[in-house]
């Protein structure tokens, strides 16, 4: 359906009608009120395209890719020792879940990430508070942290193995190290970025130093802290992959290393998918946190 505001009836389109001289054509058609404009309907956006919902269209791409992959596998173009077929991967994934080896590995890996994340958060946020809130803290803490930050933490794995042996400790330590710095940087920047006008307002309301920290500085630093947490989670998974592929006897990384030795590309892909899902899950957790904690933000549009 379309509603045209153009006058009905036969009418010769004539550009010159737009101009003031429209009267000389009057003898042919009879002039309508004022200049006779050629009107075109503006169709409402909703009527233009309907058919396929957007979410469905968006899933088509990945599904096509998956179908192509399956096709290449079944025709033998893609051999199993290069990349297993999607069907095979689903089957192996199910088997690994059924015999309990995958849930066990995920549990072990999650424990490591949780431990590293907890330690890293405590250290990173603690240091950021010390240097963000106090001049003395800044002078003592910031320079060393900025120096250590430039050391690629993965490079410390050999040192950590010498220090902590080959048990859980070096793995958790490497995750801790990876998590600490992004949190430190973002919390510190968040604290220092709190609007000075609000601090002054808090002062004028008679807030004590601790009251200012609690009611003004920390809530103001929260958006930065959550950004830091997001980075940290990403790095935590990365650190986990590194830590588990060096000298592990359990966990997802260990499963992958084992699969590599037996050329089991199907198991490797299953593990990669698990990593991806865990990453998505972590992101979902942080986004939920942001939605709950940052409702007050003027820029917040996530509802």
């Amino acid at each position: 359906m379309s509603i045209s505001h153009a006058p009905p009836g036969p009418r010769e389109p004539d550009i010159s009608e737009i101009s003031k001289q429209g009267t000389q054509h009057g003898s042919q058609q009879g002039p309508r009120q004022g200049a006779d404009l050629d009107l075109t309907p503006i169709a409402p956006a909703s009527s233009r395209r309907t058919r396929v919902p957007r979410s469905l269209r968006r899933t088509t791409g990945p599904l096509l890719l998956l179908a192509l992959w399956q096709l290449l596998s079944t025709t033998g173009v893609l051999t199993p020792d290069v990349l297993a077929s999607p069907g095979r991967i689903a089957q192996v994934g199910w088997d690994l879940i059924a015999d309990g080896s995958l849930p066990g590995a995920i549990g072990t890996s999650l424990r490591r990430v949780a431990g590293g994340l907890l330690l890293g958060t405590v250290i990173g946020v603690g240091l950021a508070l010390a240097s963000g809130l106090f001049r003395v803290g800044e002078d003592l803490v910031d320079a060393p942290v900025q120096m250590l930050r430039t050391v690629p933490f993965v490079g410390l794995i050999p040192l950590f193995i010498i220090w902590f042996g080959i048990g859980e400790a070096p793995k958790i330590a490497i995750i801790t190290l990876g998590v600490t710095f992004p949190l430190y940087l973002n919390v510190y920047a968040g604290i220092r970025g709190v609007d000075a006008q609000l601090i002054e307002a808090g002062e004028s309301l008679g807030l004590s130093r601790w009251g200012l920290v609690r009611h003004v500085v920390l809530p103001g630093a929260l958006p930065g802290a959550l950004t830091g947490l997001r980075y940290s989670l990403g790095i935590a998974w990365l650190a986990l992959v590194f830590a588990e592929q060096v000298n592990a006897d359990s966990g997802i990384g260990f499963l992958m290393v084992q699969a590599r030795d037996f050329l089991r590309t199907d198991v490797i892909v299953v593990c990669l998918i698990v990593y991806a899902f865990l990453g998505l899950l972590a992101d979902f957790v942080v986004r939920t946190l942001e939605r709950l904690l940052l409702q007050w933000r003027p820029t917040f549009t996530g509802r």
Partner: protein, 256 residues
């Protein structure tokens, strides 16, 4: 309980702290310098309890600095400054904490554990009780300014410091807000120091209008018109014209 000490006023600049009880603000020999340049230079100011004083001046004349000093936010000063313990400030920007709902903003910094009813009562007084549960981001400019006013009033101040509180409001909202401040002042009876650059606003609200220039109070004008005041009153216009001239003359002298 405007000021603490009651002693005869000794006419000596050394006698710091000697103030008669009939003053809500006593400032003497106040100097504030920024990088060696004195923005406030040996300033003297007295405000009686319950008095509404407006402070006019060109921008950069030090009127906001004076207000910040009285609020206790700027302490790099020399001289005597006596203010009541209970004082409150409303700034040009409402400066509400965006992460606290309106009523929590109102209660922020109050001693003890105040009940929400305390905040709601103050919000009621400024006509904002229906927005008590809102986030500051959802308030309009006028509403936010009223919330800021409620936050100042809930402290039951003996001295209310207003730093161009209507500056950022649109003309209609400003008229309403001015009226509201006038009513609140009459009801509360606290001393008010209003910093503004709007001469009409000053004459409309204040008992006394001060013009600040060169770091001192350069001119003082008592406004003894009956309230509520009428802008169309010829005496109003006369006062307004006089003050404008005063400000204008000053700028001309500066330029010469």
């Amino acid at each position: 309980m405007a000021t603490d000490v009651h002693r005869p006023v000794i006419p000596s600049p050394e006698a710091t702290g000697a103030v008669g009880s009939a003053q809500a603000v006593h400032v003497e020999g106040l100097t504030r310098s920024f990088d060696g340049r004195a923005v406030i230079d040996d300033l003297r100011l007295d405000v009686r309890p319950g008095e509404f004083v407006a402070l006019l001046g060109r921008s950069g004349c030090g009127k906001s600095t004076l207000l910040r000093i009285l609020a206790g936010l700027d302490r790099d000063i020399r001289g005597t400054v006596l203010v009541p313990r209970r004082k409150a400030v409303a700034f040009q920007a409402p400066r509400l904490m965006p992460w606290k709902k309106v009523w929590r903003n109102v209660l922020l910094g109050l001693p003890g554990k105040p009940q929400r009813a305390v905040a709601d009562q103050a919000l009621e007084e400024v006509g904002l009780s229906h927005r008590s549960d809102a986030w500051p981001k959802t308030l309009s400019g006028g509403e936010a300014q009223r919330a800021s006013l409620a936050r100042a009033l809930v402290r039951e101040p003996d001295l209310l410091l207003l730093d161009e509180p209507f500056g950022a409001l649109d003309a209609l909202t400003r008229i309403k807000a001015q009226r509201l401040v006038g009513e609140l002042w009459q009801r509360r009876g606290c001393a008010v120091l209003l910093v503004t650059h709007d001469v009409e606003e000053a004459v409309l609200l204040a008992d006394r209008v001060l013009v600040m220039d060169d770091g001192v109070i350069a001119h003082e004008q008592t406004v003894d018109l009956d309230r509520p005041r009428d802008i169309t009153d010829p005496r109003f216009a006369e006062l307004r014209a006089g003050l404008l001239e005063r400000l204008g003359v000053d700028t001309a002298a500066e330029a010469a």
